[in-house]
Subunit: 254 residues, 2 copies
DNA sequence: CGAATCCTTGAACACCTTCAACAGGGGTGG
DNA sequence: CCACCCCTGTTGAAGGTGTTCAAGGATTCG
């Protein structure tokens, strides 16, 4: 199901769209790269056929050959646990890079699954490394993206380690809101492409808790929620919930 | 206080020790780098005077100029939360690199504090980037280390999102055990350089819970604990606790 | 030796989970 | 087109795990 808000993305038949013409240009790898360099980067990028909801971009353990940039749609990454369950490690929106955590082990430590119909740019890693050795701005951008990912993980760690259920969900909604805004969508009106189950899993909460929280937020006038459609009414209040409250956690003396 | 198990590290007056003579050679940046390349790397690395327990290597917000490798001792990294509390994001043992999460924002998003007397190699980042543009093995190693850090964070996310208190502490002890072993120390007999408070903070648990867990592990014959001194008696059982048990978490349908 | 800090243990409470039942969509087939 | 079913999402009640509050014991350092 294509969400109305996401239809400013180029239609699927324009799969040859160059980086320089991509609406995600400023959110993706090419940041800070000049025209001739951009052509070089462009030449190594492959555009894949869109993948459908539920299909995998890569599986756990599959050999690491490329990193991937989301062009449209969304995915979730997750790792299976020993018990046959799974832990969702992230949701990935247009302009975001996936697969960088595979560099170390040379195979993917997590799987990536499309949450809806999703189109992807594939960037062979050996060629990217080659190219980034020559283009210092690209090398820097690559490190920056990885650094950003570490940063994101740290904020998530804080979320899971210190925050209440209410704060966690508020933080996720705010994160999505900001990311949609940067991509030119409404920050207050969007569709969740992931299920309540995915959200609960990601935030370390039971599905029922997530559902109850949505209801509570609705009762408090923070948002309107109808199944997957979210309309944030009071962004300030949502921020207050995400940051404020909760005197949990310890001052760590040392 | 120097812990007996850590005295195989070179004494403090040998601060000019070259990478090639460092006992951490195979755990640090120089992995897979040949002799001449190593000299080049060596030439940009500064050895700093050891820092004492409680002193900071860098603060939150301080400008990003270098990454740091731990030579001896240990540190903890943490980020302050809005409420004036803090979240511990990691413990860092000899051979490990700190500061890579600062690349993106150009200033340190977390602070690093010595848990004991600690000596450090400082590696100016601009020169490291320069050098890694020329040495592809170094470039690759740098990406690998960042990838490894992302990987570590993901396992920690799983820990905080899905695991019980018992599993979390067991996992931390196993992680320390393995890391000490790789560094040539005993995997079953070591000193914790961090406080119970730090551990609880890191694992998202109250100090009291950590304390109770140590007692329970002792009662179950898994380990002997005397303040900071840990002696693991039953590594297999500790692994069982860390991996097995607990049917929490959700199968995430989609 | 005294003070401060860290660690441990106990009891009551809170938050979230688990278990259970039901409601609402979306797809399929008659 | 409607009935049916499956899946996702919602809501209620009971229970558990970890937290908070409180107090006492151990260790370190001036």
């Amino acid at each position: 199901m294509a969400h109305p808000a996401q239809q400013i993305i180029a239609p699927l038949d324009q799969t040859k769209l160059a980086c320089k013409d991509c609406s995600l240009f400023q959110l993706c790898l090419p940041v800070g790269i000049d025209a001739t360099e951009l052509d070089e980067l462009d030449s190594i990028i492959k555009r894949r056929r869109p993948i459908k909801r539920g299909e995998h971009l890569f599986h756990v353990g599959s050999p690491f050959q490329a990193v991937y940039a989301v062009r449209s749609g969304s995915l979730r990454t997750y790792v299976p646990t020993e018990d046959g369950l799974e832990q969702v490690t992230g949701f990935h929106l247009p302009g975001e890079l996936l697969g960088l955590d595979a560099i170390h082990l040379k195979h993917h430590p997590c799987a990536a699954k499309a949450l809806e119909t999703t189109s992807i740019c594939e960037i062979p890693f050996d060629r990217l490394e080659e190219l980034s050795a020559r283009l210092s701005s690209l090398q820097h951008q690559l490190l920056t993206i990885m650094s950003k990912e570490i940063l994101h993980d740290h904020s998530l760690l804080m979320l899971l380690g210190k925050k209440s259920a209410e704060e966690r969900l508020a933080a996720l909604l705010l994160s999505l809101s900001e990311r949609y805004q940067r991509r030119g969508f409404s920050p207050t009106d969007f569709y969740l492409s992931m299920s309540r189950n995915d959200i609960g899993n990601y935030l370390g909460l039971a599905v029922e808790t997530v559902s109850r929280l949505f209801s509570r937020f609705r009762e408090e006038g923070v948002l309107i929620v109808q199944r997957k459609h979210i309309c944030i009414l009071d962004l300030a209040k949502l921020r207050a919930i995400a940051n404020h409250k909760s005197n949990r956690g310890e001052e760590s003396g040392g």
